[in-house]
């Protein structure tokens, strides 16, 4: 199955940003919703604050698209948890998304810089 092409448009900026943040956090080793939210908040110095409720639809969509894979694990007193990991397709997609975001940021600052200069 071909990798979904990342397209950054104004209307898709927020979902794309959420996807790339979550995929990157999962690539770095975070495993489940709670841990993901904490990691992203800590790494961004509190800038990216994800409510867990917001994370579920994003995680489930990424799983449906085959970009991440969820598995259940029994954690005793903590109950059964769903752990996620990035698939090979997800890694490729995340890499392309990061590149698209880098390009987007460069172009954005070119325009902003020119206007302010």
């Amino acid at each position: 199955m071909p990798v979904k092409r990342p397209i950054l448009e104004i209307r898709t900026l927020t979902p794309s940003c959420n996807e790339v943040l979550i995929l990157t956090a999962l690539e770095r080793g975070a495993g489940h919703g709670y841990q993901l939210a904490v990691d992203l908040e800590e790494q961004s110095g509190g800038f990216f604050e994800f409510k867990h409720g917001t994370l579920y639809p994003i995680l489930h969509k990424l799983e449906k698209d085959g970009l991440i894979e969820g598995t259940w694990s029994d954690e005793g007193q903590r109950g059964r948890r769903r752990h996620y990991r990035v698939t090979a397709k997800g890694r490729e997609y995340a890499r392309a998304q990061r590149e698209a975001w880098r390009l987007f940021a460069e172009r954005l600052f070119e325009v902003i810089g020119r206007t302010e200069g």
Binding site: H32, G33, Y34, A37, P57, G70, R78, R82
Partner: protein, 246 residues
């Protein structure tokens, strides 16, 4: 009873999704709520404070619930899951088993009827191979669900889509066979117009035999798929019921 049962029940009511998808979401959120609760307890909060903090962190807004509905709400899956969930009573499952047994007997009789499979011609080969694949998947899934009783959530639905795909593929292959042999027959008639009647009758005989076999085997595989789906949905429903039980 989980300390979050009331919240989970409320969430269950707000999620307009068929039971399997709903169960999976409830199980995941229940696990995360419990983990959050434990982590706040470990940080020194009282049980009541930890419970409130956990709920505040999860914060399932209406938008998040709508988004979950959009992600899981494919029309086909929703439809078949709902249908399978409704086919819960014992007598309905028994009827389904009887239908499957009837299908097995009918398909066996058709396959044994030598003129039928011979009349279906070379195109029966891919249809037969696909039916064999469906038989293997059905046997393996039946073994896992009923004998091995491996009901781990991530494995529950594995193989079901393949079975449905093979069931549909048999019918498509048969129609492909009818089309290709039809084209061949038209060419033959163009070459030898005097044999038109014989060629047409041969094509009709071949097509009917192929379609009867493929439809019978495809329908049988479809029935087995639906029977296994009702079992899977029932297991998922039991998981959710246990989660929300008093």
């Amino acid at each position: 009873m989980s300390r979050f049962t009331v919240v989970l029940r409320d969430l269950s009511d707000r999620l307009s999704l068929p039971q399997p998808a709903r169960s999976r979401i409830l199980l995941e959120i229940s696990g995360d709520l419990e983990a959050l609760f434990q982590s706040f307890l470990e940080r020194g909060l009282s049980e009541e404070e930890a419970e409130q903090e956990a709920l505040a962190h999860i914060d399932l807004s209406s938008e998040a619930i709508q988004d979950l509905g959009r992600v899981h709400g494919g029309w086909f899956r929703s439809f078949v899951d709902t249908l399978a969930h409704r086919a819960g009573p014992r007598w309905e499952r028994a009827l389904l088993v009887l239908l499957i047994l009837g299908g097995v007997l009918l398909s066996g009789a058709l396959l044994n009827a030598v003129p039928m499979s011979r009349a279906a011609g070379i195109w029966f080969l891919p249809v037969g191979c696909t039916a064999l694949g469906a038989l293997i998947v059905s046997g393996w899934k039946t073994y896992v669900l009923f004998l091995l009783r491996d009901h781990r959530p991530r494995r529950l639905r594995r193989g079901l889509d393949t079975l449905l795909g093979l069931s549909v593929l048999q019918v498509f292959l048969a129609f492909g066979g009818v089309w290709f042999t039809g084209v061949g027959s038209v060419r033959s008639i163009a070459r030898e117009p005097l044999r038109a009647g014989v060629v047409t009758m041969q094509w009709l005989q071949h097509s009917l035999a192929l379609l009867i076999l493929a439809l019978s085997l495809g329908l049988l595989a479809g029935l087995v798929w639906f029977f296994l789906l009702t079992r899977v949905v029932s297991i998922e429903h039991q998981e959710a019921a246990a989660l929300l039980a008093d």
